[in-house]
Symmetry: C2
Subunit: 461 residues, 2 copies
């Protein structure tokens, strides 16, 4: 029983849906962040659930790891293959199967991306709001419990996945949830697979909640003298109950990076970018109250965009912030933090992180989804420079320790993958052991995405 | 190893916190609905988490069932003790431990009731919205994934439990989640225990999300000629994106019951009761649009209440509907259905149920949280009349089959307990087997609330 025998068996049934070509292995064995490449032995391109089940069954029988792969935009090395095996590229399973407009849900395959879904929804008056920036696949977004700029209003993938079809490690196909808007019907299996990073099962179909396209949308960007002023404006806005659709923070380094990358001319100070959704009157009311809060906090340079093309440019700039920051240092790779803290501690947390980074020789622009208490520092590290990587990890460790002390989490939206496992014991205590026990029960041979989320299992270390 | 030896051991450490008195056993061994009493052998009244852990550890060692008990308002026999054992009455663990007003969350013990919590929150400007009608404990509400009248706006317990402390079957104490508003940090253990009905662990502390008390509130009741008109008004309101805080349906039998029980004088036709929360302008806008929809559907007799005492009377009447319906037949017990269907199928489902019931000799008033697609028929059965109970179950079976065919669920908010297990195979297929495997992994000796949610486990049938 080995990876080799599994691949021989797969080859017989998959034909040219199984690739052993070096470029394919390399493309699937690298990631967007600082992790060293780790290549699979083969890449399978299944076309339907039955094929996924067959592949998983064969691999499980032969102790061959199976790594689900969407668009490869994960930031914690989720799709790498440190133990080799078969990468399951779900790109061919990218159909939108059904839009139930009256029920405001859609049924689709995991390889569909969020932008593709929203393009198809445009004429229906509905949209899918979860927006991690990258044009990730919806299966991947569910698997990392992704969120991003709109979670403050519409929630994360946890809140917007209604039901799933999942292939288990032994090849059984199950359905979790129903199309009802709520249920008390047993253990919440949907929630168990959302955020499981492909370690408990392979998501082969999703039912997602859709939302009505808002009647009116208004976006703005405004400048603050200090991080604390900007964050306090956010806290105040939340506490006033203003239903922001987006509220994003970029510090002065990120502002500088965006100006250079996207050709904007923001003042080199911290900024907030906000968006309101609602009726015409509702949006006007929200914008007015927000404007007063910003003025109270010394915010200036308010620019409102209600034209679609201006808004698009604004959010394109925000979505490109990752690449903009990367471009601050030529050839650098990024180690990205992802802490999330209770809102009341946010200003203190961001300010402490800023000072910590300022005292180090590394660049580490900060940006974040501050309406959720979630922010990222992007440490720009020279590839292969171990001293710099060590320093970046030390800075990251301190951010996480501080966040945990404040009642927060090591990862608000990127997931654990290979990069955040060292924090799990501190964050969850015996809860992490329990996660391992669940993994052991559902995937006793550790076939599904081994070395991610939980530590390796006792009977397959 | 037996229940008896467990009780002897518990008695030594608990003293008068362990009761063997007949009235205590009887009070904890009955339920609010049609199930035959099933008494525990003892009732324990722990005062803190350490005691809960000690009790569970002893019971687990001696193969003695442990049944968590809150206010006893569950409707599916969740707190009955069909295999005897020790009922863990959490009534002494009823402290509100902390209100984090800035973060809009509260930390509390499981025995606190939702009304007690809201009384304590009154001065803070915050409230806890989930409202199943009964003044249930918050631990119990989490355990059944309760919802009720406000879920259409504020979500269910799934959406409002941020973090938990849980005692596992082997006595380990774990914490799930953090106080951050979102997290991608591993398997969603919080969601796993919410709705697990005490079969996977005992909830000993909860962190709940709070919401701002709305600036303006307005409630209304209005009458419709037919069920279909009323339900279509709901569907239309949802699709217009009007953020109702509550939207409740009562059919003409329930209307008659409420008039008799609460002294109201509604016309004997189907009614909707609604509530809007928001700013003054927002509520006025919502109410106006809703009024137009109702008029389009032939609704009449609109009565708006913006005075707190009128609203209180309206919702008190709604909350008493269960007792009002019970009073329609003296001495009757109720078998209550709880299906939830996609909104687009709601009118069809309710109408088919209504016709089914009308063609039977049983009374079965219908009411529901129609904004979620969730409704209940209450079959009034003479105690001990097996023919009537058989008929009620047949009607219930048909409602569930119809709901499942429509993509719905057998239980929107009441849970499985002892009453809904027969539908689980049809609803979940292999997903139900997976629930059993999770139960087996977390509670291998089947100590925690046996005979609920999942079928008995292989090694302890």
């Amino acid at each position: 029983m080995s990876i080799k025998t599994a691949i021989t068996a797969l080859s017989a049934i998959l034909g040219d849906q199984l690739s052993l070509s070096k470029p394919d292995l390399e493309a699937h064995g690298q990631s967007e962040s600082h992790f060293a490449p780790a290549l699979p032995d083969a890449v399978a391109y299944p076309e339907n659930t039955a094929q996924v089940a067959e592949i998983v069954k064969i691999c499980n029988a032969h102790d061959c790891p199976v790594i689900a792969y969407g668009a490869g935009t994960a930031l914690e090395g989720h799709t790498l293959a440190p133990k080799g095996g078969v990468t399951l590229d779900l790109g061919k399973m990218n159909k939108l199967l059904k839009i139930n407009a009256e029920d405001m849900d859609a049924v689709l395959q995991p390889g569909l991306t969020r932008e593709e879904l929203n393009t198809e929804l445009r004429a229906t008056g509905l949209f899918f709001p979860v927006d991690p920036g990258a044009n990730a696949t919806l299966g991947g977004m569910a698997s990392t419990r992704a969120s991003g700029t709109t979670a403050v209003r519409y929630g994360t993938m946890r809140d917007n996945v209604v039901a799933l079809e999942v292939v288990l490690a032994d090849g059984r196909i199950i359905r979790t949830g129903s199309r009802a808007r709520k249920s008390s019907s047993g253990y919440d299996l949907t929630a168990l697979f959302v955020g499981a990073e492909g370690t408990l099962g392979i998501i082969t179909e999703l039912t997602l909640r859709l939302h009505g396209q808002p009647e009116a949308v208004s976006s703005a960007v405004c400048a603050f003298n200090t991080i604390t002023d900007a964050v306090n404006a956010v806290i105040c806005t939340i506490q006033m109950g203003i239903p922001m659709a987006r509220i994003e923070f970029i510090d002065e380094d990120t502002t500088r990076a965006c100006n250079a990358f996207s050709g904007t001319d923001m003042a080199q100070v911290p900024h907030l970018m906000v968006e309101f959704h609602g009726s015409d009157a509702g949006v006007a009311e929200q914008a007015e109250t927000f404007g007063e809060i910003v003025a109270d906090m010394g915010g200036t340079g308010f620019k409102w965009s209600s034209k679609p093309e201006e808004r698009k440019a604004l959010w394109q700039m925000r979505h490109n912030a990752y690449y903009a920051c990367l471009a601050l240092r030529k050839g650098a790779v990024a180690l990205i933090t992802d802490v999330c803290v209770p809102i009341s501690r946010l200003a203190e947390a961001v300010e402490a992180s800023r000072q910590d980074i300022a005292a180090s020789p590394l660049q580490g622009p900060i940006l974040g989804h501050v309406g959720d208490g979630n922010y990222h520092a992007m440490f720009l590290v020279e590839p292969g420079n171990n001293a710099e990587m060590k320093l970046a990890k030390e800075l990251s460790n301190r951010m996480v320790e501080r966040a945990l002390k404040m009642g927060g989490t090591a990862t608000g939206e990127h997931g654990i993958g290979m990069g955040k496992q060292d924090y799990m014991q501190a964050e969850h205590g015996d809860g992490w052991a329990l996660m391992g026990e669940i993994k052991q029960a559902l995937d006793p041979k550790n076939t599904l995405n081994p070395s991610k989320v939980v530590r390796s299992q006792p009977n397959n270390p």
